[in-house]
């Protein structure tokens, strides 16, 4: 039996714990002890069996950094924003991570979006496995690339030098050798990309072990509306997975005019708008919908370009209208467009969303590209990933310490 600790430091919601859950269950099934160190405990309470798993609070930068970059253009600036802005903040967190490692004595550390946790593990001779979508694992280069894919510039390098200096000063306090570049934070004995090469947020990565996606917790079965009238274009269905945003009513009006049977899940705080648009060709789901089943019955998927929904749509061969709300989502939407399997309307303007939706419905090329994606990954089986992961973990545990 080995002791495995799975860490999550940055981000929100349930996604990180949801991704690790089937992996942890496979490890537990093979007799290993799995503990979690988590940014937020609530996802664990929601998703994990407390009889099988323990969870601990992760140290993270809980106070807003004073000189935040409001629109970070690279991971370097994100790191600045999450507590790499000052050596003393880093040292405090590194010590707390190290204390937890010393207490839990892991034989393997697994990291999901956890740069400080990874930094703390340097020099400890504990095997490290980092997992994530492409966004969570930057390319091993310096300076760290711009999110928008633009060319390096002097500012990028200056910023990276500053954050690297903070980081190395903190490592120095702990007696750990310095990094030669910021990307070295992500040094690990294994990197596993829970995405597809085409959906890697950073295109053109030299090497990458792409495993596809892990199992998502199933939502409720999709309940599609009946077509409003026999004349309605009932043969095409739209599935939309949305959060509230300013021009959401315009989008819903467009979808209503189009008249296709439309199933919509909008998350919390959207009851009023759901009431306003309820009925006719619309069905609103109050709970998260089983993505696989919804995609299978849909002809077009509309979402904010979250990795889970995009993957599910493309594995189901369905084209996407993408309404990215943040940089991570914009990066992924660019990859979907590059694959020809969708259109993005990042400005969220009523006309832009409408035009692109109509093009998706009218031009079969998008659907064909999505189907080609599905065919390329037809052999992708989510069910086999946990066992494969457990085998990799066991290999790392058995191998020579780094």
């Amino acid at each position: 039996m080995a002791k495995i600790v799975m860490c999550w430091e940055l981000g929100g919601d349930l996604g990180h714990v949801a991704r690790m859950k089937p992996l942890a269950e496979a490890l537990a099934k093979r007799g290993h002890r799995v503990d979690f160190i988590l940014r937020e405990c609530l996802p664990a309470e929601r998703l994990l069996d407390p009889e099988r798993f323990r969870w601990f609070q992760a140290p993270y930068q809980t106070e807003a950094v004073p000189d935040q970059d409001a629109a970070p253009r690279s991971l370097t600036q994100v790191l600045h924003n999450v507590g790499f802005h000052a050596t003393r903040n880093l040292v405090g967190r590194l010590r707390a991570w190290r204390a937890l490692y010393a207490l839990l004595q892991p034989d393997l550390l697994v990291f999901d979006h956890s740069p400080t946790a990874m930094l703390a593990a340097r020099g400890l001779r504990i095997p490290r496995l980092v997992l994530g979508t492409g966004f969570g694992i930057p390319p091993a280069r310096t300076p760290l690339p711009r999110f928008d894919g633009g060319a390096d510039d002097a500012g990028l390098k200056t910023e990276e030098d500053r954050v690297t200096a903070n980081t190395n000063a903190a490592l120095g306090v702990l007696g750990t050798p310095p990094l030669s570049r910021l990307a070295d934070i992500y040094d690990a004995e294994a990197q596993v990309f829970f995405t597809f090469r085409e959906l890697d947020h950073y295109p053109g990565r030299d090497a990458g072990d792409y495993w596809g996606v892990t199992q998502q917790d199933a939502g409720v079965p999709p309940l599609w509306p009946e077509p409003a009238t026999p004349a309605a274009p009932a043969d095409r269905r739209v599935f939309a997975y949305l959060k509230p945003f300013e021009t959401l009513p315009s989008l819903l009006s467009t979808l209503r005019e189009a008249g296709h049977p439309t199933l919509i899940y909008m998350g919390k705080g959207t009851k009023d708008i759901a009431k306003q648009f309820a009925g006719g060709t619309f069905a609103f789901s109050e709970r998260p919908v089983d993505l696989g089943a919804a995609v299978a019955a849909a002809d077009v998927v509309i979402c904010h370009s979250g990795h889970g929904t995009v993957s599910a749509a493309l594995l189901g061969g369905k084209p996407l209208l993408l309404l990215p709300l943040n940089m991570e989502q914009r990066m992924l939407s660019a990859r979907v467009m590059q694959a020809g399997a969708g259109l993005a309307a990042p400005a969220l303007s009523p006309e832009g969303m409408r035009d692109k939706f109509l093009r998706l419905m009218a031009e079969p090329a998008f659907s064909s590209a999505a189907q080609r994606f599905a065919e390329r990954h037809a052999s992708h089986e989510v069910d086999t990933i946990p066992a494969r992961f457990a085998a990799l973990a066991e290999r790392l545990i058995a191998s020579e310490a780094p």
Binding site: R46, P50, W55, F56, P59, R88, G92, A96
Partner: protein
């Protein structure tokens, strides 16, 4: 030898850690192992670096929603530790995991209600420490904290019932024994009250409370007062909106002001002058209180007590309920004035009054005289004896 775990869940700054360290050091010197579970790991590194005592992150609500108009301890809990049943349950389990891994012989909880909840049903004893405000009395319902402007009693009763219900649901989820009254959370632990009766807002509701007095600060550098003539004023505490105007005025004299404001915006240092100096390092508070003539402070509990023990009058700038209660108790004793509006003219005018009108210093000296027998070693010694006894009784 025993393993003592010091837990701090709610609050901010160094006000919890520095006193806990002064309690931990003698335990460590006596051969015990001491670990910390802390709300703020950056503050912990600042305070505990080099101590050899590890610290772990506390499972805490880092997005408290507490309103400005809080009237009772249960209301404070509802906006912080007990914000939601599911989050509280998740954190109780995280505390449980950590305590199970740490295996304490004694848990010392400083403003750590979730730690106390998670410790219920385990086999180690708990100590509740802190100033009066963070150790509610053994009564139900818990009292109105603003008796001069009370809230509707039914609202307070409802808040207490809700806090109790959330605590009990979370306890049930985690398999812990439930509470009959919210106060049980504290009443079942051994108290270690690090305050004086005059500064305890719950003094009237405690039976047989032992007041051990405040804990010594971490010590530090000699205070770098501006040289020359003029009365010495110590300006200490959090940022507040009119601080720039106050600094500007003090920089012109005639007093000699030493200002210590953590996270002071660098541009405010432009007010440094022959009459105004800024201190960045930790200061030797015994020297500060001995040498100053008056203090203007955001009314931290231990600094307030230190000033009164040295017989120095105060102008207090309370920004939160806890500080407001301390400021009111100081005013009630006549040893200073409170300037809760934080207006520069009010602050500066009150400073002139406490410096110029002798009754304020007289009342402050009366506090000092009343506690002349008190020895700063008492709280540390008593605490050490309590923890050692509890550990030995296991």
């Amino acid at each position: 030898m025993a393993h003592v775990v010091m837990a701090w869940e709610l609050g901010a700054g160094y006000g919890h850690l520095a006193p806990l360290l002064s309690l931990a050091r003698p335990l460590q010197e006596a051969g015990h192992d001491v670990s910390f579970v802390v709300r703020d790991v950056v503050a912990a590194e600042a305070v505990l670096a080099g101590s050899g005592m590890p610290f772990y992150p506390a499972p805490a609500n880092f997005r408290p929603t507490g309103g400005a108009d809080l009237h009772s301890y249960p209301q404070i809990l509802l906006g912080t530790a007990f914000n939601r049943e599911d989050e509280l349950g998740a954190r109780v389990r995280a505390w449980r995991s950590l305590l199970q891994a740490l295996q304490p012989d004694v848990l010392v909880a400083d403003h750590a209600p979730t730690a106390l909840l998670a410790a219920r049903g385990t086999d180690f004893p708990c100590v509740v420490t802190g100033n009066g405000f963070v150790v509610p009395p053994d009564v139900s319902p818990l009292p109105e904290l603003r008796p001069w402007a009370p809230a509707d009693q039914r609202v307070l009763e409802q808040a207490e019932a809700e806090a109790l219900e959330r605590a009990n649901r979370a306890a049930q989820r985690a398999g812990s024994p439930t509470l009959t009254r919210l106060a049980d959370l504290y009443a079942e632990a051994a108290p270690a009250l690090f305050t004086f009766r005059e500064l305890d807002n719950y003094a009237g509701l405690r039976k047989d409370a032992a007041y051990w007095g405040t804990l010594p600060g971490p010590g530090g550098a000699a205070p770098p007062w501006p040289s020359g003539a003029g009365k010495r004023v110590f300006l200490y505490g959090h940022l507040f909106e009119s601080l720039p105007q106050v600094l500007k005025s003090l920089s012109k004299g005639p007093h000699r002001t030493l200002a210590q404001v953590p996270r002071l915006p660098p541009d405010l240092r432009r007010h440094a002058s022959a009459h105004l100096a800024f201190a960045d390092a930790l200061l030797d508070m015994a020297a500060v209180t001995r040498e100053c003539d008056a203090a203007v402070m955001t009314s931290g509990h231990s600094t307030t007590a230190a000033m009164l023990l040295a017989g120095k009058p105060l102008v207090l700038l309370p920004q939160y309920l806890e500080m407001l209660l301390i400021a009111r108790s100081v005013e009630a004793q006549g040893a200073g004035l409170s300037a809760p509006m934080l207006k520069p003219e009010g602050i500066l005018g009150k400073l002139e009054r406490v410096l110029g009108e002798p009754q304020f210093a007289e009342k402050a000296r009366a506090f000092a005289a009343a506690h002349a027998e008190w020895d700063p070693a008492i709280p540390v010694t008593n605490f050490g004896a309590l923890v050692t006894r509890l550990a030995a009784e296991r």
